[in-house]
């Protein structure tokens, strides 16, 4: 493994670590809200990864204003596709979280707790 390359791509490393942290929370934490927070951390990590893919050094936003042509010739305009993709990704994440939170409200109302093992322990199939 090429370590200098890994440290050059520091954003990617951070995103991988965030992904693992999130997955740890989703699988291990007993509290459902914490699981959801873990899920959101995972989502953020993926967004960080995609946005970092589109970055360039001293990049300018892909908006046509004065100086845009010069930046384009110099190859300094950032990639717009990842930004469009994470906009979709964020909306999806928000929607999933909204549904998950309403399920949590109902679960808390019916079971009186948000502790996953306790909930799974009741009315077993």
């Amino acid at each position: 493994m090429n370590f200098s390359r890994i440290f050059h791509n520091l954003n990617y490393v951070v995103s991988a670590l965030l992904f693992l942290m999130g997955l740890y929370a989703v699988t291990v934490k007993p509290n459902i809200i914490k699981k959801l927070i873990g899920l959101n951390i995972m989502e953020t990590s993926v967004f960080l990864l995609i946005v970092s893919v589109g970055m360039v050094d001293n990049g300018v936003a892909p908006i046509v204003t004065e100086g845009y042509r010069n930046a384009l010739e110099a190859g300094r305009v950032v990639n717009p596709i990842p930004q469009a993709l994470i906009l979709t990704g964020i909306v999806v994440a928000v929607s999933t979280t909204a549904v998950a939170l309403s399920l949590c409200l109902r679960v808390h109302e019916k079971y009186g707790t948000l502790n996953a093992p306790e909930i799974l322990g009741r009315d077993v199939l």
Binding site: V13, L17, G75, L87, I90, T96, A98, S102, R106
Partner: protein, 251 residues
Amino acid sequence: MRRLLVVAALACLGIMLLYTIGRMPPMNSGSTPDKTHVVPRYLEHGEEEGGAPNIITSVILNYRGYDTMGEVTVIFSALCAVVALLDREKRGRSRSAADISKVKSSVIVRTVVRIAVPVIILFAVYTILHGETSPGGGFQGGAIVGASIILFTLAFGLPESTDRMPLGARIPMESSAMLAFLAMGFLGLAFGVEFLTYALPGIHGQATETIRMLMLMVVEIGIGVAGGIIFISIVFAMIREDRYELQPDIP
């Protein structure tokens, strides 16, 4: 034991991720594969082809407009999901925790909110309408609208809010984004071009530009209105406290 297994599995996954990342194209370089294949055309011609100086808006609404139609469907389905789980509020009868609580929000909070909310909404309108030339757009503006009404609800309580935003007015607005997209799509079909094409043929010169601008604007406004109202409806469904007695458990 379980935790140990999970940690071991995560460690394997972590090694795999690090291995992958170590082989990914270097960051911050202008010549990575992602910037040489599809993107150059967007950056070169995004303005004249896509119809918006903000190339991201061009990509979102024009090149990948079909994705964005799916995206507004995602928030619409989230709303349907939340409402199917928690039900709509009952007008005049639904109370939030803030209404039930003995402690009312203070005069200072109420006054500040009363002054701030219109300004926030104004800013949201600016964000929605200016999304074509500057950072912003329908989703961002919609989120700001939603936030302003949530602020209002927290200060003044649910009944005040639902009086101003009655259910009957909200339901048509919730599907407005999808309907705006579909209307623009079918308009394209009616003019004999492809679905979701904003440049209608048969209209020459300056008019094409203007019509494309208008069509993009309709979609942006649709997204903004629907986004805002959907967030508001979701929050209304979540904060009402009358859920418990209205919903008998079905065996």
